[in-house]
C-alpha cells in the first residue's frame, strides 16, 4: 500500500489554535514563476544530492511494494493449480518479509532526506525573511502590520515547507505508484485495467474540487474561531467593566451569536469532509465492482487466472491513494505557490530609505545638531502632509517641542531618527544632507526614547544595555539611577536580573518609560530625543530626572517632546508646532507672551497658582 502522509487531506481540527491561519488568500499580483523559483532554487541546488537520493529511495520503495503482490499471485496461482508445495510457499513468504524489511529501511531514508530537506529549506527562507525584515523602514511596516508578517512567518512558510516536502513525496509517489500499478494491471489484462480505472479520474477531480472548497470553508471557520477567541479574551480582560455596566447577559448573547456562526461554519466543513472520505472508498469499491464482474467473467472464460484476479484486486487498492493524492498535491502546490508569492513580495520590497555607502573612517560628530529647512512630509498612506514647510534649527542645548495632537511632533522625531525617508535638501545633520549619510552612522549619534516604551522579554539589565553591549553593571546602575528607576529595580525579586515581558514581571507604564530612558542614557550618545517618553511619570520624578539630565547633557543636544509646561519651562528653547509648522519658538516667558496655545496650556496646568498655592 502506498505511503500515507501524516497530515490527512485537511483536518480543521489539526491545529485549531494556530495563530491567524485565517488570512484570506489575497491575490498578490502574480509574479513570474522564475522569480519565485529564485527563493527556493538555491536550497534545491545546495541539497541536490540529498533530494536526489531521497527520491531514488522513494522510487525503489514504490517498486518493492509493487512486487509483493507478484509473489502473492505466484502463491495463489500455484495453490489454484494444485502445484504448490509447503517449501515453495515458505520461500515466497520469506521473500515477502525480506522485501518488507527493505521497505522499512528505505522509507526511513527518504523521509529523513526529503522531509528533512523541506525543513532545511523552511529554515533558510525563514532566516532570509527575518534578515530582510530587519533592514526594512517604517513605510514598509506601515504596509505590513505585525499580524501580517507573523502570518507570513508561520503559515506561508508552513505551506511552502509542506509543498516542498510531503508535496514532492506525494507527487512522485503518486506518479510512480499509479503508473507502475497501471502497467502491472495492463500486463494482466488491458481491457480490464481500463474498466477498473473508470472511477479513478472522477475521484481525482472530485478530491481536487472538494479539497479546494474545503480549504475555503475551513479558512472561514478559522476566522470565526479567532473572533471567538478574541471576543472571549477581551470580555474576560474587561470583566470588571462588563460587570459595572451589567453587560453580562448582553455579552453572553453576543457570544451565543458568534458561537452559532462557528457551529454553522463547522457543519459546512463537515459536509465536504463527510464527502471526501466515503467518496474515496466509493471509488475504490466501484473499481472493485468492475474487477469482480468483468474480471470474474474473464476468470470464468479462463482468459485470466485466479491469481491474476487476486493480484489485480491488490493493485487496484494500491491506486486509491495515488488518485486521492493527485488532488491533494495539486492543492498543496497551489497553496505553496501562493505563499511563496507572498513571501516573495516581502523579500522583493526594497526600503524607501536609501542608505548611501559608508564613507570609510567617517568620524563621529561631538556636538551634532539638526537643521530642518522647509520640511514637508506626508505618510505613504496619508493624503495630507503632516509636516508643512517646517523650518527649525536644533543645535546643542535642550529643546522642548510641544503642540496639539496631530501637530507633527512625533512625525518630526521619526524623521530626525531617519525612520522615514525625507527629500533632499530638507534635513541636515551636522552640516550634511541626511540623505548623504549612512543610516547607521547617523543613528549612532542618537539615543531615542519613544512615546510607547519598547521593552523586550529579557532581564532588566539586558534591556537597559540594549544599545551598548558589554556595559558594566556599574554603568547600568548609574544609568538606572539617572532615570530614577534604580530604587524600583532594587525592589524587584531579582533586582537587575529580573525577567520582564511576557513571561516575567509586569512593570507599570511609568516604570517602563523610565527603563527606556535609562537605556537611552546608557548609550551616552551626543544626541538625545525623548518623544513624550515620560508622560506616565509623575511630575516630581520628571523634574528630578531632568535636572540630572541638564548636567549630564551639558553641551550636547537634547530634544524633548512634551505637553507638560513644567518640563518645558526647564528647557532652553521651546518650539510650538501647529499644523506641521513652527507656530512660535523661544523661551518660556517669550511663549507665554506670544503664543495663545502655550498660554492656555499653562493656565490650565498651573491653575492652582491663583487658588492660593504657595510656590517654593
Amino acid at each position: 500500500m502506498a505511503e500515507q502522509t501524516e497530515t490527512t487531506i485537511e483536518d480543521p481540527r489539526v491545529n485549531p489554535s494556530s495563530p491567524s491561519t485565517a488570512r484570506p488568500q489575497q491575490a498578490a499580483s502574480r509574479v513570474p514563476l522564475a522569480q519565485l523559483r529564485s527563493l527556493i532554487l538555491p536550497s534545491f541546488r545546495r541539497y541536490r544530492l540529498r533530494v536526489a537520493s531521497g527520491l531514488a529511495a522513494l522510487i525503489v520503495v514504490d517498486f518493492l511494494q509493487l512486487i509483493i503482490p507478484r509473489f502473492l499471485k505466484e502463491g495463489v496461482d500455484a495453490l489454484a493449480a494444485g502445484s504448490a508445495s509447503t517449501s515453495q510457499l515458505f520461500r515466497l513468504a520469506l521473500v515477502m518479509v525480506a522485501i518488507a524489511i527493505a521497505v522499512v529501511l528505505l522509507r526511513f531514508v527518504w523521509r529523513y532526506l526529503i522531509i528533512g530537506f523541506s525543513r532545511l529549506l523552511e529554515q533558510e527562507v525563514r532566516n532570509r525573511l527575518f534578515g530582510h525584515i530587519l533592514l526594512m523602514d517604517a513605510p514598509f511596516f506601515e504596509k505590513h502590520g505585525p499580524g501580517d508578517l507573523m502570518a507570513h512567518s508561520s503559515n506561508d512558510l508552513g505551506a511552502v515547507q509542506m509543498a516542498c516536502g510531503m508535496g514532492v513525496v506525494a507527487a512522485v509517489d503518486a506518479l510512480v505508484m499509479s503508473l507502475a500499478a497501471i502497467a502491472f494491471m495492463a500486463a494482466i489484462d488491458p481491457m480490464l485495467t481500463l474498466l477498473a480505472l473508470t472511477p479513478m479520474p472522477f475521484l481525482a477531480i472530485a478530491t481536487r474540487k472538494l479539497s479546494a472548497r474545503l480549504h475555503r470553508r475551513f479558512t472561514t471557520v478559522q476566522e470565526v474561531f479567532s473572533q471567538l477567541t478574541e471576543f472571549s479574551r477581551t470580555s474576560l480582560l474587561s470583566i470588571g467593566l462588563l460587570k459595572a455596566y451589567t453587560m453580562e447577559a448582553f455579552q453572553a448573547a453576543r457570544f451565543d451569536k458568534l458561537g452559532q456562526g462557528y457551529v454553522r461554519g463547522n457543519l459546512k466543513v463537515a459536509v465536504i469532509q463527510g464527502l471526501i472520505t466515503p467518496l474515496a472508498t466509493l471509488a475504490g469499491s466501484a473499481g472493485m465492482l468492475m474487477v469482480l464482474y468483468f474480471g470474474g467473467r474473464l476468470v470464468i472464460s479462463a482468459s485470466i487466472t485466479l491469481g491474476d484476479f487476486v493480484a489485480f484486486i491488490t493493485y487496484l487498492y494500491m491506486l486509491i491513494w495515488p488518485m486521492m493524492a493527485i488532488g491533494w498535491v495539486a492543492n498543496l502546490v497551489q497553496r505553496g505557490l501562493t505563499s511563496l508569492n507572498r513571501i516573495h513580495s516581502l523579500t522583493a520590497s526594497t526600503p524607501l530609505l536609501v542608505d548611501p555607502p559608508a564613507a570609510p573612517g567617517q568620524a563621529m560628530v561631538a556636538r551634532p545638531g539638526f537643521v530642518v529647512e522647509h520640511l514637508t512630509f506626508r505618510y505613504p498612506a496619508g493624503a495630507t502632509p503632516v509636516l508643512n514647510g517646517l523650518s527649525l534649527s536644533l543645535g546643542p542645548g535642550i529643546h522642548g517641542i510641544t503642540g496639539r495632537t496631530g501637530s507633527g511632533k512625533t512625525t518630526l522625531c521619526r524623521l530626525l531618527t531617519r525612520l522615514y525617508p525625507v527629500e533632499d535638501g530638507m534635513l541636515f545633520f551636522a552640516g550634511s544632507d541626511v540623505n548623504q549619510l549612512p543610516l547607521d552612522y547617523l543613528r549612532a549619534h542618537i539615543a531615542f526614547v519613544s512615546q510607547e516604551p519598547v521593552l523586550f522579554s529579557d532581564t532588566i539589565a539586558a534591556n537597559i544595555a540594549l544599545g551598548r553591549d558589554g556595559a558594566s553593571r556599574e554603568e547600568i546602575v548609574a544609568a538606572a539611577r539617572a532615570a530614577a528607576i534604580h530604587d524600583d529595580i532594587e525592589r524587584l525579586p531579582e533586582s537587575y536580573e529580573t525577567l520582564i515581558g511576557e513571561r516575567g514581571v509586569k512593570l507599570s507604564g511609568g516604570q517602563r518609560q523610565r527603563l527606556a530612558l535609562a537605556r537611552a542614557l546608557l548609550c551616552d550618545r551626543p544626541l538625545l530625543i525623548v518623544d513624550d517618553g515620560l508622560s506616565a511619570v509623575d511630575t516630581a520624578t520628571e523634574h528630578q530626572v531632568f535636572s540630572g539630565l541638564r548636567e549630564h547633557f551639558h553641551g550636547k543636544t537634547v530634544i524633548v517632546v512634551s505637553n507638560r509646561i513644567k518640563l518645558l519651562s526647564m528647557t532652553d528653547h521651546i518650539v510650538v508646532l501647529a499644523d506641521g509648522r513652527v507656530e512660535d519658538q523661544g523661551d518660556h516667558d517669550h511663549l507665554l507672551r506670544v503664543n495663545a496655545l502655550y498660554r492656555t496650556m499653562h493656565d490650565k496646568q498651573m491653575r492652582q497658582d491663583d487658588s492660593g498655592e504657595r510656590q517654593p
Partner: protein, 597 residues
C-alpha cells in the same frame, strides 16, 4: 484558593472517569435520537464493510472456481453477486456521509451549549476569581479545550465504536474460517496496539517540543516587530538576527527529531501488514494443501487483513486524542464548578425609586489577608450631593468604588443606599442604581450609537437628547460620521478623553440615581476636556455623585471634598476650608494634583 493545575499538555484525563462521562452524556442527552441513529449507522457500516470481502469470496468459491457448473449459471451468479456488491457500496457511501454529518451536528451543538454555559458562568463569577487566574488560561478553556472535547463526539463515537466493532467482526469471521490462522492474526492486535500507543506518546512529546519552539520564534518575532524602530535605532539588527537564527536552528533540529521518529514508526505498521500477508500465504497455503481452507477463504483472509490493520492504526491515534479530550473535559467541568464568593440575596429588594442617599458604614477591607486597605471608613452622602474623593495612590479611593459595586465583599461594615444594605439588592439592580464611569471603557466593535445604547433599548432621539443636554453633542459632531461612526477594532480609535465621554454617555442612558466617576489620570486633549467639564457639571446636577478626582476643576465643583490617606478619611470640607486648614489637602494641591493619582 483552589488551583486548576494548569498543565495543558502533561495532564491526561482518565478514560475510566465515570463521573466525567455522566456529565458529558448529560449534555448530549437532548441529542439522544441522533446519537442512537449514529450508533445504528455504525452497526450497519461494520456489517457492510465486512460483507464486501465476503461477497468477493463467495463469488470466487461458488462461481469462479466452480469448474463443474455450467458457464451461463456461473455468469448469472457472478452478475447477481456483483449487483449486491454495487448496492452495498452505494449504501456504505450514503451511510458514512450521514454518520459524519450527524455526529458533527451533535458534537458542534453540544459544544456550543457547553461553551455558552461556561462563558455565562465565567461572567457571573466575581473579581477575586479573576485576580487569581490568567485570562489566557480561561480563554483556552473556552476555545481550545471545548474544541478538544468536540473530538470526543466525532472521533470517539465514529472511530472507536466503528473500529472496535469492525476489529471484533473481522476476528469472528476469521475464526469461523480457520481458527489457527485467526489466532495467529489475533496476535498482531496487541503488537500493533503496543507499537502505536508507544509511538503516539513519543509523537505527542515531539510535537509539543516543536510547538513550544515555534511559539518562541513567534513571540520573538512579534516582539522584534513591535520594537523594530528601537532595534534599528540602537543598532541591534545583528544581535537580533543571531538570536533569531539560533531559535530557527533549534526549531529545525526539533523537526528533525520528529522526522526520525516518524521515519521509524510510520513504516513499522506497514511492515506488520506485509508480515501478516506473508504468514497468510505460507500458513494459509499450507492449510489449503491439507484442504482445511478454500482458495476463496484465503483471498478473503487477505482482504480482511487489509481491513484489519487500518482500524488498528486509527485506534491508537485516536486513543491519545480521547485522552486529551478527557483532560479538557475535566478542566472545563472544574471551571464550571467554581463558586463565586459573593452571594446574591435569595429575595432581593426592589428599591423602586431610589433617592440616592449613600452611606459607607465602618468599612474594613483587605484584598490580601495581611494587608488591610480600608480601616473602618464611614461616610454619608446626601441625595444630590457631589463628593470628590482625593488622595494619593493606595489611599483606598478605588477600593471604595470596588466595594460599592460589590466587586468585593468588605470584611466588616456595610454600604447602604437609601438606608438599604446593598447586599439586599440583586447585583444587577445595584449596578443599575449606581452608574460608574471608569477610566477604561469596554468598546464593542460597532457604531458609536450602539456603543452608547448597548442593551438599554434607548432610541436614537433619546441618545441625541441626552448628548445635547450635557453638551456632549459637540463630541459626536467632531466624529466623521457622528453617531454612526464605527469604533473599536477596525474603526476609529478613540482618545482617552473621547473614551471617557463615551462612558459618560453610556451611563447617562441608564439614568442612575448615583453616579460614580473615576476621572482619567492621563492627559486629555483640551477640547475633550472642555466638553467633559460641561458634561460633569450638567450630569451631576440633581444626582448623588462620587468622584475620584484628579483635576482641580472637578474638585472645586464638588460640594464636599473628602481627603483619604491610608484607608481612612483624614480631612473633609470645602476647597477653601481645606486650604485654610493647611493639612493633607493643601499639601496635595501644592505637590501638583497630577502627583496625587
Amino acid at each position: 484558593m483552589m488551583d486548576f493545575g494548569y498543565s495543558e499538555e502533561g495532564h491526561q484525563g482518565s478514560l475510566g472517569d465515570l463521573r466525567l462521562w455522566r456529565r458529558i452524556l448529560a449534555y448530549a442527552s437532548s441529542y439522544r435520537m441522533a446519537l442512537v441513529a449514529a450508533v445504528l449507522l455504525s452497526l450497519f457500516l461494520t456489517w457492510a464493510t465486512l460483507a464486501q470481502p465476503y461477497l468477493v469470496q463467495t463469488a470466487i468459491d461458488r462461481y469462479l472456481t466452480a469448474h463443474e457448473m455450467e458457464t451461463a449459471a456461473r455468469l448469472s451468479g457472478l452478475g447477481w453477486n456483483s449487483l449486491y456488491y454495487g448496492l452495498l457500496i452505494g449504501l456504505v457511501f450514503f451511510a458514512t456521509f450521514a454518520q459524519i454529518l450527524l455526529l458533527e451536528y451533535v458534537g458542534q451543538w453540544v459544544m456550543h451549549r457547553l461553551r455558552q454555559d461556561l462563558f455565562a458562568h465565567l461572567l457571573r463569577l466575581d473579581l477575586p476569581f479573576f485576580n487569581s487566574r490568567r485570562t489566557g488560561q480561561l480563554v483556552t478553556r473556552l476555545t481550545n479545550d471545548i474544541q478538544n472535547m468536540n473530538e470526543m463526539f466525532t472521533s470517539v463515537i465514529v472511530t472507536l465504536f466503528n473500529d472496535v466493532l469492525r476489529l471484533a467482526g473481522i476476528l469472528v469471521l476469521l475464526f469461523a474460517m480457520n481458527p489457527p490462522l485467526a489466532a495467529i492474526m489475533a496476535l498482531f492486535v496487541p503488537l500493533a496496539l503496543l507499537i502505536t500507543v508507544f509511538f503516539a506518546r513519543l509523537a505527542r512529546e515531539c510535537f509539543r517540543d516543536i510547538r513550544s519552539q515555534l511559539a518562541k520564534i513567534n513571540s520573538f518575532l512579534s516582539e522584534s516587530l513591535a520594537g523594530i524602530a528601537i532595534l534599528q535605532l540602537f543598532h541591534r539588527q545583528n544581535a537580533s538576527r543571531a538570536t533569531f537564527f539560533a531559535l530557527s536552528e533549534e526549531y529545525r533540529r526539533r523537526t528533525f527529531t520528529q522526522i526520525k521518529l516518524f521515519g521509524i514508526f510510520m513504516p513499522l505498521t506497514e511492515f506488520l501488514g506485509s508480515a501478516a500477508l506473508a504468514i497468510i500465504l505460507w500458513y494459509g497455503g499450507g492449510e489449503i494443501l491439507q484442504s482445511r481452507l478454500t482458495l476463496g477463504e484465503l483471498v478473503a483472509f487477505i482482504s480482511y487483513m487489509r481491513l484489519f490493520f487500518q482500524p488498528l492504526r486509527e485506534l491508537s491515534q485516536k486513543y491519545s486524542v480521547v485522552q486529551s479530550a478527557m483532560a479538557s473535559a475535566e478542566r472545563i467541568f472544574q471551571l464550571l464548578d467554581s463558586k463565586r464568593h459573593i452571594d446574591e440575596p435569595r429575595l432581593p429588594l426592589a428599591l423602586p425609586d431610589p433617592r440616592g442617599k449613600l452611606e459607607f458604614r465602618g468599612l474594613r477591607f483587605a484584598y490580601d489577608e495581611d494587608r488591610e486597605v480600608l480601616h473602618g471608613l464611614s461616610l454619608v452622602i446626601r441625595p444630590g450631593q457631589t463628593v470628590a474623593l482625593v488622595g494619593t495612590t493606595g489611599s483606598g479611593k478605588s477600593t471604595l468604588v470596588n466595594l460599592l459595586l460589590r466587586f468585593y465583599q468588605p470584611q466588616e461594615g456595610s454600604i447602604l443606599i437609601d438606608d438599604v444594605d446593598i447586599s439586599q439588592l440583586s447585583l444587577e439592580r445595584l449596578r443599575t442604581v449606581v452608574g460608574v464611569i471608569l477610566q477604561d471603557v469596554f468598546i464593542l466593535q460597532d457604531s458609536l450609537l450602539a456603543n452608547i445604547v448597548m442593551d438599554t433599548g434607548r432610541g436614537r432621539d433619546e441618545v441625541e437628547e441626552i448628548l445635547a443636554s450635557t453638551g456632549m453633542a459637540a463630541f459626536v459632531a467632531r466624529l466623521p460620521q457622528g453617531l454612526d461612526t464605527p469604533i473599536g477594532e477596525g474603526g476609529l480609535e478613540l482618545s482617552t478623553g473621547q473614551k471617557q465621554l463615551l462612558a459618560f454617555a453610556r451611563v447617562l442612558c441608564r439614568n442612575p440615581a448615583i453616579l460614580v466617576l473615576d476621572e482619567a489620570t492621563a492627559a486629555i486633549d483640551t477640547e475633550s476636556e472642555n466638553i467633559l467639564e460641561q458634561a460633569i457639571t450638567d450630569s451631576f446636577r440633581g444626582r448623588t455623585s462620587l468622584v475620584i478626582a484628579h483635576r482641580l476643576s472637578t474638585i472645586r465643583r464638588a460640594d464636599h471634598i473628602v481627603v483619604m490617606a491610608h484607608g481612612l478619611i483624614v480631612e473633609q470640607g470645602s476647597h477653601e476650608e481645606l486650604l485654610q486648614a493647611d493639612g493633607h489637602y493643601a499639601r496635595l494641591v501644592a505637590m501638583d494634583l497630577k502627583n496625587g493619582l
